[in-house]
């Protein structure tokens, strides 16, 4: 197994609002290995964005705060690190790309200056070296004539170009972890593909690990090594890309796959929507958060929160359906069609105790 670079244990993030405490992230565990890409998937409001902002301690406080849990990175617990030391990690060891490139650049500062900022801050470069490196970075992310681009302002760039600039900023200090928060959602489909290509390309060049947040499973298949599916502020299923796509176990994952159009969707096969809306995290439902929307819900789902079960060394599922007493259920057609047998699966799902994935 390759080297672990990040380990998150039992992370809780809450927001104080007029209505009370919104528990946006409710006990999330995951890890990230060196050089791999982890995709976090879920619908809006599932807590995926908040989770990653918590990793960088960028939750606006107030109203948000990390309520509990640990974020282990290079022997430090980022959840409790003083702000001053956190500043030295942001942009240097961990950096981030945001969803909307139209708003994430300072409109009155030249692109060059914005790229130079982290270089000057973290690598103590002088203006000249930083400038050279910034132009190099612009070239690296595929912007033509970087010398002139360097002196321009964000409004002179298109959306896709701006996202390239944001990527250049994020990669300026060769970070160990790159967090990409829906980096392609706001872009045209053709540009999306280019940006994804660029990210894959750059990942191999600078050997960074990527946490890729998206609600688009199609994107996941292209970029990720492992996938974590989030629902209602918790990770409900995680595993390798193959495990999630070809042998998903959680009804919510089934729902996601069922609602995803693919090129091999037969003319007859219908896309199936997941009914209902995500849970109100102001008063999270008792038991399994997905039970209300699930066709496969059981009595216990409305009473007790399910534990995690291991289907293989890498595949974790948080569902009572894995319990030996649970009835055998048939996944929906879309999932059955693509089902493949995973050679590394255990004979039976194993209950995970104590520390989870």
């Amino acid at each position: 197994m390759s080297k672990r670079i990040l380990e998150v244990n039992n992370l809780h993030v809450s927001f104080n609002t007029h209505g009370g405490e919104v528990k946006a992230v409710r006990g999330v565990d995951f890890h990230l290995d060196k050089g791999e890409t982890l995709a976090i998937v879920g619908e809006s409001g599932s807590g995926k964005s908040v989770t990653t902002k918590a990793l960088m301690r960028l939750i606006p406080n107030p109203p948000g705060f990390i309520k509990g849990g640990e974020i282990h990175f290079e022997g430090k617990d980022l959840a409790k690190l003083p702000e001053k030391q956190m500043e030295k990690i942001r942009g240097k060891d961990i950096s981030m790309i945001f969803q909307d490139p139209m708003t994430s650049l300072n409109p009155t500062m030249t692109i060059g200056k914005q790229i130079m900022e982290p270089l000057v801050k973290h690598q103590n470069m002088n203006k000249n070296d930083a400038r050279k490196r910034a132009i190099e970075l612009l070239k690296l992310v595929g912007l033509p004539s970087p010398e002139t681009r360097f002196k321009q302002y964000p409004h002179q760039f298109s959306g896709g170009q701006r996202q390239r600039v944001v990527i250049a900023i994020a990669l300026a200090c060769n970070p160990k972890i790159l967090i990409a928060d829906e980096p392609t959602t706001a872009l045209d489909v053709t540009i999306q593909a280019q940006i994804l290509e660029l990210m894959k390309d750059l990942q191999t060049k600078i050997e960074t690990s990527i946490i890729f947040i998206t609600h688009d499973l199609g994107v996941v298949a292209n970029v990720a090594d492992r996938v974590a599916v989030m629902y209602g502020g918790q990770i409900v299923e995680s595993g390798t890309v193959d495990e999630i796509f070809y042998d998903p176990r959680h009804p919510y994952t089934w729902g996601l796959i069922g609602s995803m159009p693919t090129t091999d969707t037969e003319g007859e096969a219908e896309l199936v929507a997941i009914p209902g809306t995500p849970p109100d995290l102001l008063n999270p439902p008792k038991g399994d958060a997905f039970a209300l929307r699930s066709e496969y819900a059981m009595k216990i789902d409305f009473e007790q929160e399910p534990p995690y079960y291991k289907v293989s060394d890498t595949h974790f599922v948080k569902s009572w359906l894995m319990h030996p007493s649970a009835p055998q259920v048939e996944p929906p057609e879309a999932v059955k069609v693509r089902h493949r047998k995973m050679p590394s699966n255990y004979a039976e799902p194993v209950l995970v105790e104590g520390v989870r994935a």
């Binding site: 960088m56 960028l58 606006p60 107030p62 702000e83 001053k84 500043e87 030295k88 990690i89 942001r90 942009g91 240097k92 950096s95 981030m96 945001f98 909307d100 708003t103 994430s104 650049l105 300072n106 409109p107 009155t108 500062m109 900022e117 982290p118 801050k121 973290h122 302002y153 409004h155 002179q156 944001v166 900023i169 994020a170």
Partner: protein, 309 residues
């Protein structure tokens, strides 16, 4: 940008023409003439005076004369102060007003921006609440009430500064303060709102994600962007200070334009009223024009796009 500037200039001139014409005809509608305040005069003497002011000509002739005079910077003669040209009166009076106005604007802008920044950074703390309350009081208390209170407490009760004197520099302190309050309050409120919006923006988040410190993001990213729209309220602020000067100068007996204006209103000195009116209008229009151009220069989005969006 050039086209835009020229367009603005044309508007400016049209506006001025309209104002000048309107003031001219409004003044003709006014009851009273230079004769109203004179002692009893024989018809011959009246005739001489009317001739002197050109009031015997038919209206269109008077208008043309007035406008050509204006173009040469001639605002006519005062009805009250024998034979004194209005331009000369304005020239004599402009100094103290300009000094007070300048001090009030500069002090107000600096304080207002600082208070606004602090309130935004310390959002939802007692510092924020305190400055917000002070700012809303500042825009609510009329300038003449504030000036009178200052005069009463600082001048009459505490006797720290003279009640109403003009001559030494320290005499400018109270009137400047009285004029500044509204400016500080308005700019502070504006700045706070701008800063709060910017501090919640994505690019501030990105700056933080780069590892820039809190102070760094505020100074390098937020303040600069919040200052740009501040420029736009410089126009209204100038007007507020001009307006305020009418009453504040009266209260502190400052020999400025505002005091002269109020005096002329009370003595029906129409040529002076017209002159000062036009002077204020030109000043106001010039400030608005400068602000527009300045805005284009400091905001790269407008500067490089070649016009206002």
């Amino acid at each position: 940008m050039v086209r835009y500037t020229i367009q603005r200039l044309v508007y400016m001139i049209i506006t001025l023409l309209i104002i000048a014409t309107a003031t001219f005809f409004l003044m003709k509608l006014l009851p009273g003439s230079p004769l109203t305040n004179q002692e009893r005069l024989s018809p011959e003497q009246q005739q001489i005076i009317l001739d002197k002011y050109g009031l015997n000509d038919p209206l269109p002739v008077q208008y043309v004369k007035y406008m050509t005079g204006l173009a040469q910077g001639d605002l006519g003669l005062s009805f009250q102060y024998d034979n004194r040209p209005v331009t000369q009166i304005i020239g004599d009076r402009i100094g103290p007003s300009a000094l007070l106005g300048f001090q009030a604007m500069v002090l107000g802008a600096i304080l207002g921006i600082l208070v606004g920044i602090i309130a935004a950074i310390k959002h939802n703390t007692w510092l924020d609440y305190g400055s917000t309350i002070l700012a809303v009081l500042g825009i609510s208390i009329p300038s003449f009430v504030f000036a009178a209170l200052l005069q009463y407490y600082v001048g009459v009760k505490l006797e720290w500064l003279p009640v109403a004197l003009w001559g030494e520099y320290k005499h400018t302190i109270l009137p400047t303060l009285a004029l500044t309050v509204g400016v500080v309050a308005t700019i502070a409120r504006f700045m706070r709102t701008e800063m709060l919006e910017i501090l919640n923006s994505d690019y501030i988040l990105l700056a933080k994600a780069k590892g820039i410190s809190k102070v760094g993001t505020v100074v390098k990213h937020a303040v600069r962007n919040a200052m740009i729209p501040i420029v736009t309220i410089l126009g209204p602020m100038t007007v507020a200070v001009m307006t305020g000067s009418l009453v504040v100068e009266r209260i502190f007996a400052v020999p400025g334009l505002g005091e002269q204006f109020v005096l002329s209103i009370n003595t029906n000195d129409y040529t002076v009223i017209m002159g000062i009116t036009l002077f204020f209008s030109v000043l106001f229009i010039a400030v608005i024009f400068l602000v527009d151009i300045l805005y284009g220069i400091i905001d790269p989005r407008i500067r490089l796009a070649g016009g206002k969006k």
